[in-house]
């Protein structure tokens, strides 16, 4: 058993999940991998298990937040010191992972965020998407007090303190932005590191055009509410 665990939420990702698990194990052999299948109806569970991951299969679909939190609860229970999040759709390059993990081990921040925009990387996005990103960045900057370039990045390494925090509270849906404010309110530090982003290999983005308005409203509300809350998260 290693001291770091990779949490991969997966919903019907049978085509890519094995490749993601393998690529992570190739890039960083010294990590454990837990795949949380969020009520998948295809062969995600079998594929992930065959690839060598520890698989937690949720019997009903809890949504991305509930699935990811399952991973953090497992990490807390098993005493992992670091938890890593990386998308199962192949968008994130595991080659960056050793670097992110090293930054976490050096204590550069409670959360190390893999960011698309810190330095120039190969990643390009559409105009409307960039507009949304800028809006979110502004919102987070107002809430947190310092700029975070890639507010919607789901590529991150967190330490034990944050594992425990996420075990008791994790945002329900669209967690990326809310997490940043949550961490800030709980006096956790966030450190951004540039990473490569690849085009999605399979599956669809959880944020499509139809949902983007709901997304913006939800995130704005969540950030606003987070600012109204007391700092400590009460155990539920």
């Amino acid at each position: 058993m290693n001291d770091a665990v990779v949490i991969i939420p997966a919903l019907n990702e049978e085509k890519t999940v094995a490749a993601v698990v393998n690529s992570i194990l190739c890039a960083v052999p010294a990590v454990d991998i837990v795949v949380v299948s969020d009520g998948s109806t295809d062969r995600t569970v079998q594929e992930a298990r065959a690839a060598g991951a520890f698989v937690i299969s949720l019997s009903v679909n809890l949504g991305i937040g509930g699935a990811v939190q399952t991973g953090y609860r497992y990490a807390k229970e098993r005493g992992y010191q670091y938890a890593i999040q990386i998308d199962a759709d192949g968008q994130h390059d595991p080659a960056d992972l050793p670097r992110l993990l090293e930054e976490a081990r050096q204590g550069r921040g409670d959360m190390i965020l893999g960011s698309r925009y810190v330095e120039r990387t190969a990643y390009r996005s559409s105009r409307s998407r960039r507009m949304g990103m800028i809006l979110l960045s502004t919102l987070v900057r107002l809430a947190v007090g310092y700029p975070i370039k890639d507010t919607t990045s789901g590529y991150r390494v967190v330490n034990r303190r944050i594992i425990e925090l996420f075990s008791s509270y994790y945002p329900f849906d669209y967690p990326e932005v809310e997490v940043l404010v949550l961490l800030h309110r709980n006096r956790m530090t966030i450190h951004e590191v540039a990473v490569q982003m690849k085009e999605r290999q399979a599956g669809v983005s959880s944020i499509n055009v139809r949902k983007s308005v709901y997304y913006m409203v939800k995130v704005t509300l969540a950030v606003g509410l987070e600012l109204l809350r007391k700092r400590a998260i009460e155990e539920d």
Binding site: F54, I56, S57, S59, G66, R73
Partner: protein, 123 residues
């Protein structure tokens, strides 16, 4: 049968239904207080409709039945808010349960019940 008798009859049936649900433990006590209170208020207003008029005049409402609608509306608003709070709490607990069960099942299937420090946590 006039509306006066009908009102009293309705309130009694309502109260009886609530108490019966509580008796059969279909409705938990903590949620039934709200309905009991409502039943008592309806009953009292049916028996003493002049109370409604009195209150309406006192707060400056000229048409007394509209006060009744206001009270009913506010009560429904309160009840629904309370229900969504209860629903949220239930959702949170369900999520927790699903997560715990999934972790337990995964560990059971894995046959690995030891902590990283080597202690057995299945005791």
């Amino acid at each position: 049968m006039n509306i006066y008798i009908l009102g009293i009859a309705f309130s009694l049936v309502f109260l009886f239904t609530v108490v019966d649900l509580m008796r059969r433990r279909v409705l938990m006590e903590q949620y039934s207080l709200l309905w009991l209170g409502m039943g008592v208020v309806i009953l009292l207003l049916s028996i003493f409709p002049q109370w409604l008029n009195g209150v309406a005049v006192a707060v400056g409402i000229y048409y007394a039945p509209s006060l009744l609608f206001l009270i009913g509306f506010l009560f429904m608003l309160g009840t629904m808010l309370h229900l969504t709070v209860v629903l949220s709490r239930l959702t949170k607990r369900t999520v927790r349960l699903v997560q715990e069960i999934a972790i337990l099942k995964a560990e059971l299937a894995d046959g690995n019940h030891t902590h990283p420090d080597g202690t057995d946590k299945t005791d």
